[in-house]
Amino acid sequence: MIVEQVPVERFVSLLSEQGLRVKLGPFNVQIRTKLLQLASQLYPLYANYELVEDEIAEFHVQVLPKHSVRRPFASFVRFLIDGQSPFPSFPSDQALAVLEWGINLAVAVRTNHLLLFHSAVVERNDGAMLLPAWPGSGKTTLCTALVHRGYRLFSDEFGLMDPQLGDFLPVPRLMPLKNQSIGVIRNYLPEAVLGDEIFNTQKGTVAHVRPPKESIQRAGETAKAKWIVFPKWVANAPLKLEPLPQSEAFLLLASNSFNYGMLGETSFKAVTQLVRTCRCYKLVYSDFDRVIAALNELTDDT
């Protein structure tokens, strides 16, 4: 059963009482909140997620209203994981961003059986394409465009790699567009489902894109990486897709990983194998049509 098959009243009562248990790729998350505004934002955005039955939920998170003695009339929320708060409270209109950010943090901090790259990952023609990048290089925006143009979403944030098998695991989560990207995507992809704009977050204005339904339905299907593309959006720049030496790709990947150091030798071997078996590129782009055409050409050529 998926979320949209649950009546909204039931959805709200699950969230406020025993917890909503949803499958986010390889992880099951139990979410609890009594905040109606957050519940109403989540209902359409989480519509396609499968409800978890008879399985362990790895993460138990909660979003609670917080009352401040110093500012009694302002309204804040707190994020809790297993009853503990990993970061300070935020204004309550940011609850959705805080929830998504908190779940990402939980995944990043607690997952070491997989190698975690800070990377968007999409799939086409049975191969995964990694788009690793530093924050601000437009990886979420590019990822959003690709997954509405025939690519399957693995993640806009986490490249989850099984270091033994070499497979990448999809974890299709909401994609948080920031600032100007929101308008850009609304223009380019009128069909994309976006959540409310959330103002004044740490990263400015944020709006979450709902992952395509097919990407969520097929979240159990892993893939081997075939391409590693380091993207950078530069205003008005002509498209440039240049091969990257393996050694450089190695360093960029290792330094864009959440737990490369934690896994030690395992991650060294996994990344070595990855750059040896993938075609590695550096990408500069400004125009969606051109970049999608170029990446289509790349992923057709197998």
Binding site: E55, I56, E58, H60, D82, L263
Partner: protein, 371 residues
């Protein structure tokens, strides 16, 4: 003990005492167990126990993944702690100051069973009080620095504590706590640390000094029943259980030496509680009633109160339905820990300051003023 235990405590204790039994656990049991072991910092320990028995493939794969993740993290933290120790030793190599490794890293050096899979968040060492300034100055010169702390906390450490404010290396960021004794200087317990340094030993495979077995046990007991607030401290009791079991088994004279040392250092009370609760919770094989030979024992009245308060504090609260009684027990033990740590004329202003901080967090104030 297990008869009166709440279900979730029994679930946890059973997994710790008899790891092989978890293969029988159902899905909801696993989900709760993972949350509980995390809370008491024993995820890595349980993972190590299951890995040693080749059981990680015989449990639900989601649980195994979380446990493996925890074990990988624990091993990395241990590696970092050992490297930090190596760096400290190197920084201090030209000084004749004796340095003793304490707590987690010492348990690992002593190869105690509870050290495997243990999370090392910081590194604890002890140097003689008269060398403290020299050691601190040397480390500050060689790349370590103090964390930003308030003037109040700085004074708290310097005047009243058994350690100085933590040092962290500017690149590696591992925290070092430098102790000069094993109980706060303001507590009613006064320890002659010369004995600890005189009897320290060097495990055969290392160059580092650790406390001798009886002192290691006493330090663990003091830490638990004198320095800590006991909330979620089940891991420390497990350390105590592990060290009592191993040392008692290795050396037939251990128990007599332990009692004599506790009497010599006037640490009878914490050891009494340590033995009692270790036996109660983990069925530690302690011969007869050795604790009755201690010169200083808690009164019957204190014992019976502690008997009711300690287990609900040591064990984690149920994550979804925390009991009010357990919360009260934790609050009372919090007060107790301060009461025995400081005399009243220091304690009351300290608690008042802490209450003030709860309402007006110091750092936030500083930040807003700075804007």
């Amino acid at each position: 003990m297990t008869r009166n235990l709440p279900d979730h405590h029994r679930l946890l204790l059973n997994a710790l005492n008899n790891p092989a039994s978890v293969v029988e656990y159902k899905i909801p049991d696993w989900e709760l167990l993972l949350r509980l072991v995390r809370r008491v910092k024993l995820l890595g320990f349980l993972a190590a126990e299951l890995e040693r028995r080749d059981l990680l493939d015989k449990i639900p794969v989601r649980a195994a993944n979380q446990l493996r993740s925890g074990l990988i993290r624990a091993k990395k933290l241990q590696q970092l702690a050992h490297w930090e120790l190596n760096r400290i030793a190197s920084a201090l190599k030209d000084t004749p100051v004796p340095m003793i490794v304490l707590k987690g890293a010492a348990y690992a050096l002593a190869k105690l069973p509870s050290a495997e899979g243990r999370y090392f968040v910081d590194l604890d060492i002890m140097v003689p009080k008269e060398s403290l300034d020299q050691v601190e100055a040397l480390l500050l010169k060689k790349g370590w620095r103090h964390r930003d702390i308030s003037a109040y906390d700085e004074r708290y450490y310097r005047a009243w504590s058994h350690e100085i404010p933590a040092l962290i290396h500017r690149e590696r960021e591992t925290e070092i706590d430098i102790h000069h004794t094993i109980a706060p200087v303001t507590s009613r317990v006064k320890i002659d640390t010369c004995h600890l340094f005189d009897d320290a030993m060097t495990p055969s495979h290392t160059n580092y000094k650790i406390l001798c077995p009886v002192d290691m046990v006493l330090h663990c007991a003091v830490n638990l029943f004198q320095n800590n607030e006991l909330a979620d401290d089940l891991r420390d009791l497990l350390d105590l259980h592990g060290s009592l079991a191993v040392f008692g088994n290795e050396d037939p004279g251990f128990w007599r030496k332990l009692i004599e040392r506790a009497n010599q250092l006037c640490l009878g009370k914490p050891l009494f509680y340590g033995i009692q609760f270790s036996r109660l919770v983990f069925q530690t094989p302690v011969p007869g009633n050795v604790e009755n030979e201690l010169n200083e024992k808690p009164s019957i009245f204190s014992r019976s109160i502690m008997h009711f308060l300690v287990p609900p504090a040591l064990f984690p609260l149920h994550p979804d339905k925390p009991s009010k009684y357990a919360r009260l027990a934790r609050f009372l033990l919090y007060l107790r820990s301060h009461w025995i740590r400081m005399p009243l004329h220091l304690l009351l202003p300290h608690l008042a300051y802490k209450c003030y901080l709860m309402v007006v967090p110091g750092k936030t104030v500083a930040k807003e003023l700075g804007r």
